[in-house]
Symmetry: D2
Subunit: 373 residues, 4 copies
């Protein structure tokens, strides 16, 4: 079972973890890996291009987009003076070669079809869609609306949330977690790992996301005048990240988990905040809760406990998760919060973190300032 | 006990309720009442001025503001060509006369001090702060941080949520509900009234508000660059609207109610969405839930069931509450939503609705288009 | 020549003009006129519905929309509890009757086709598009890209900017000005009327508009993530409101006028600010300029001189124009500004103002608070 | 005269200029320079910290802020895991040492006082305020409201817009241009350098800026509810960047230049667009204009001609200027546009570009992705 070997928990130290301080210059001299991005014109795909432009050990050799095929990448990503052009999916596929790593930022059904064909050609795959996140093939019909074409791969795929689950350097297929899922799991895992919650009670998670979370979809309800100064819930209790969270938290806690998740659309471009509410055992205090978070998430460069409810602005453009939780003693509920950038730790940032692990690099390579400061 | 005589529940009819169709011309010929607004330069105060500018039976004769004393009201409220000037609180107080109605849009502690003095002068008072919403004087120390100076009035004050509680025409003091409280109560009351919830389990309410909800307060964290493209929780489990909701819902259900409420700041000007999560009895269906809402809220002009999760934009600038709820069968939780304008039904709109009831007018007077259309 | 009889200029008085204080009750007892709205699902069309919902002398009997045909108007316009449904253009057309007034909020080419057919059926028409604003048929090919199908009507059509041009009560066809045009003309007309500008020098107008100005068009570049935190110019020197402004200002000044106009898209929903720059005669002072504005615009209820550069927020949701101008002595340029709501005075508000004039009503009827205050 | 030696104009080549491709690894092995930031808690100061965190040849050793003295820098700048703390101005000043470079992101009057004292201690200074931009001491009284305390330095200071003016590696004091000034000069310089404008006619520049341009100032009119959905002009004809633009453009054109500049506040966080309007000589075409821009700005890594009016979003978070211009033949006016990030090329980005030049590094060091891609 590849996906859920729980990663050893480390104590939170005061200084940055080792992986941060390993000299980047060592990295730089390493062999450069070729990366191919499928679905490069979506918000996550463009973010992958943007991050990898500064990565010292990876070169993007192709960026697929049927929408923008033929256009210069530099036209859409001004700070990266590259000659690369967007190319059709078919052409990029034909040009792939063994040893490359493919990053898939496409709809789940397209990924489910494409990934096996890329594996067959000898590439390794990091899939940003939900196509390989669930272990149970039947769940795809229920939550994604399609019959999974490659159920055998579901067992092989590694769930790429490296702070909680091991991502082996020899993995062939990484399922990059969903944006809401990443935040929800980060907010809940420490409570689960320390068995602080009343068992059996469902978790309530109220997710709030900026509009890029909906992808580059030209829909009436996503036009500026409809979103600005507006707020609404969507996919109440039916969001497709629900089973992914339940599966991951069950792996952490060793027990089945039930989640009641609702998504909300916020008038901003980027950022996710998930607020989780769940009953804790009588007597569990805020201090105990804080200690659980620090133990579970400590030592990971991209996970940070903050002393007040986290905001999305500080993590904008980063691969960080910021978490906070406290017990509300009147109701004996824990209120836990996680903030991420939906395009960073919620998509492209985490994909690059996984890419680093596949390459045996420090997981922060290319994701933190490279300077000496 | 004035505050919580539960108002008779009516069936939802297809046509607008009687109070909407009573000819406005009848109203117009009625005696005009003089209104005095204290705290007119805050967002709620200005909204009161704006609504009352078009009210056929009320004339605003004074608008107090220490901040803008001496300035023309028309400078701040362009669509109302009035000669009125903002005047200091002290001057306005001195000029008040028996028979007027005072609308207080001030901080709770200031209202708690001012309201008794206005009652003594023979005015009736609608207070938009929290100063008279709680029945238990001790709760003011816990939730508002001051010792209530007029605890005797807490029993007399009528809680002005007229869809649920009677507002008698002879009331002297109306406590206008809080913005979050109005939305939360609207979202929960039908479930309570129909006993659909598992008793004893705390209600979880996740409130989301535009920035005017914070009042006209010049704080670093409310500057545009800090709020735009940002999102955060605040007053986790400690929001002062919590006891007010518990008190109202206990009155509806006949049982104690515990609420775990968390507020979130949304990068928009106006609008509140409250998302409520609570376990329902096994077997309760979405259809049953919908029927409960229609029975409890039906017949009220400003309460509307909508068939999908409500948005704040459609209720912007109105006195409407829009609600929706459904059961999530996997977790047997109900997800209930209410959307309001925090300055409309959440403050000034509801205050005018209460004002109408004090004057024996149809409750929608001045709050809906006056045309024949 | 109907379009440009210059309306008598009045002195600015301190008190609201007569038209504002004429008792609304007189209006109310008047005969109710039936209005038909074509293109009711666009932003201007919806705003027309919203305003007319509160109009005491007009009833909207039909709202055409092919997009939303069959849906309840009240679903989109919550504060108006009407039974009206959106109906297809064709059906609404068939049901029109002599004596009604049609308000057309459609693309120019559709209006150019529809208006003559409505006139033939005995309706009067207020057209919110550009289809009848220009006197020269050839200009339609250059600026609008179509050959005008009814050039004979261009001479009959009245340009409905009533503060500057007479709108006779017996007009059959009113061309409601463009949003940018209204603001630009308001900002320039006083300078023109008082001959303060250096003749021959082109006017520079830099227009800035919220996104509803682009209409309800589902385009990639109008999606929320593309507009938020972004800013750009469009139709540089080629905006179709250019000839309309030149025509109107030539009528005011008695001389040809050349305008260099550029539009900019601002990340907000509603509001237009036009900034005009033009050389004034040597020696012209800010005081002289202010006097010119007050003389030209004074006495008009919806035109206001303000003592500092106007903002769009105060005129949001209103039919007001706010103007300010000053001379920059170092360059001897006048900087003039006009702020409007693009859906108010820039579209639906002004259309209702024109409708009032066609009905012989005070021009502010239904456009200002109806209360006694 | 140090400030205005015009830098040699280069032809625009298709490939990135040499300075971009110089191997960063060479840079990395260079001696690391210590930088000290004064005013590090402002928006520009924080941006300096953020950029320098990834700079391979500079280490920030101190960040002054009286506001946040004692707080961790990493609390405000999450992606930079540094131990640095904000420290009071006085303490930072005392700790400065010869050979360091000081970056001043403070109000002009504070900079004018501080810079000479830092020079005396043997530091070199890059000042982001206006304190050393103007050559004429008298202009400080007129435009900045203070008497310049160190007029002798005004002649020594180098105006740090390196695409147009030489920044010698041995300069002691660099005056980093204003945000509006940078964009306005970029938009106008090619027209000036090629003598395409009608001499004597004033330039009109309409500047539009996001709110961070106003600095971290806690003012009523910069609160979120006041800025959102609003738009206004400010400092009409009186903005302090005016003389700086006139001075720079006079140096480029060899003739006096008069500018009529007006600033506008846009409801967004970051970004500046300046729209310039000026009469061109009869017969000058858009093609000729385009050629002028490409000749003047070509070869500079951070200046780009774009084929349509530029937007601010693509340059957000970068040091780029994007320009476009075209001739409007009806009025024979050129409409020219420049888009920048006010905190990037408009402040901190350009300061780092200047810092690179002082250190003899490629000017893009630390300002473009460092990866191999």
């Amino acid at each position: 079972m590849g996906a859920f070997r729980t990663r050893g928990l480390r104590q939170l130290g005061g200084s940055p973890p080792q992986s941060l301080t390993k000299p980047i210059s060592d990295v730089r001299s390493a062999r450069v890996t070729e990366a191919v991005i499928f679905g490069a014109s979506g918000y996550s795909g463009l973010e992958l291009l943007d991050i990898l432009a500064g990565h010292p050990a990876v070169t993007v050799v192709a960026a697929s987009s049927d929408r923008w095929a033929g256009e210069m990448v530099a036209e859409r990503l001004r700070r990266w003076p590259t000659d690369l052009r967007f190319t059709s999916h078919a052409e990029v596929f034909e040009a792939t070669r063994e040893g490359q790593i493919a990053l898939l930022a496409m709809p789940a059904e397209a990924s489910a079809d494409l990934a096996p064909r890329l594996l067959d050609r000898g590439l390794r795959v990091i899939d940003l869609s939900g196509a390989f996140r669930l272990r149970d093939p039947a769940a795809y019909e229920e939550w994604y609306g399609f019959t999974h074409p490659a159920p055998a791969l579901l067992d092989e795929a590694v769930y790429g949330l490296p702070e909680l689950f091991e991502v082996p350097a020899d993995a062939r297929l990484v399922a990059n977690p969903g944006c809401y899922a990443t935040a929800t799991i980060a907010a809940c895992a420490p409570l689960m790992a320390h068995h602080l919650l009343v068992p059996g009670a469902p978790l309530v998670a109220d997710g709030k996301s900026g509009v890029t979370g909906a992808g580059r979809s030209t829909k009436d309800e996503l036009m500026f005048p409809e979103v600005q100064e507006n707020l609404r819930a969507y996919r109440v209790g039916r969001h497709q990240h629900t089973p992914e969270v339940e599966q991951a938290l069950a792996a952490v806690s060793g027990r089945p988990v039930r989640l009641c998740f609702t998504a909300h659309l916020i008038p901003m471009r980027r950022g996710i905040l998930v607020s989780v509410y769940a009953p804790v055992h009588r007597g569990v205090s805020s201090i105990e809760v804080e200690r659980a978070y620090k133990e579970t998430l400590g030592g990971h460069p991209f996970m940070a406990w903050v002393d007040r409810p986290p905001e999305t602005a500080p993590v904008r453009g980063t691969n960080f998760v910021e978490v906070h939780a406290r017990v509300e003693p009147r109701t004996q509920m824990v209120c836990a919060f996680a903030a991420i950038d939906n395009l960073g730790k919620g998509a492209a940032g985490q994909a690059v973190q996984n890419l680093n692990l596949l390459l045996g690099l420090p997981e922060a390579t290319g994701l933190l300032p490279a300077g000496d400061a």
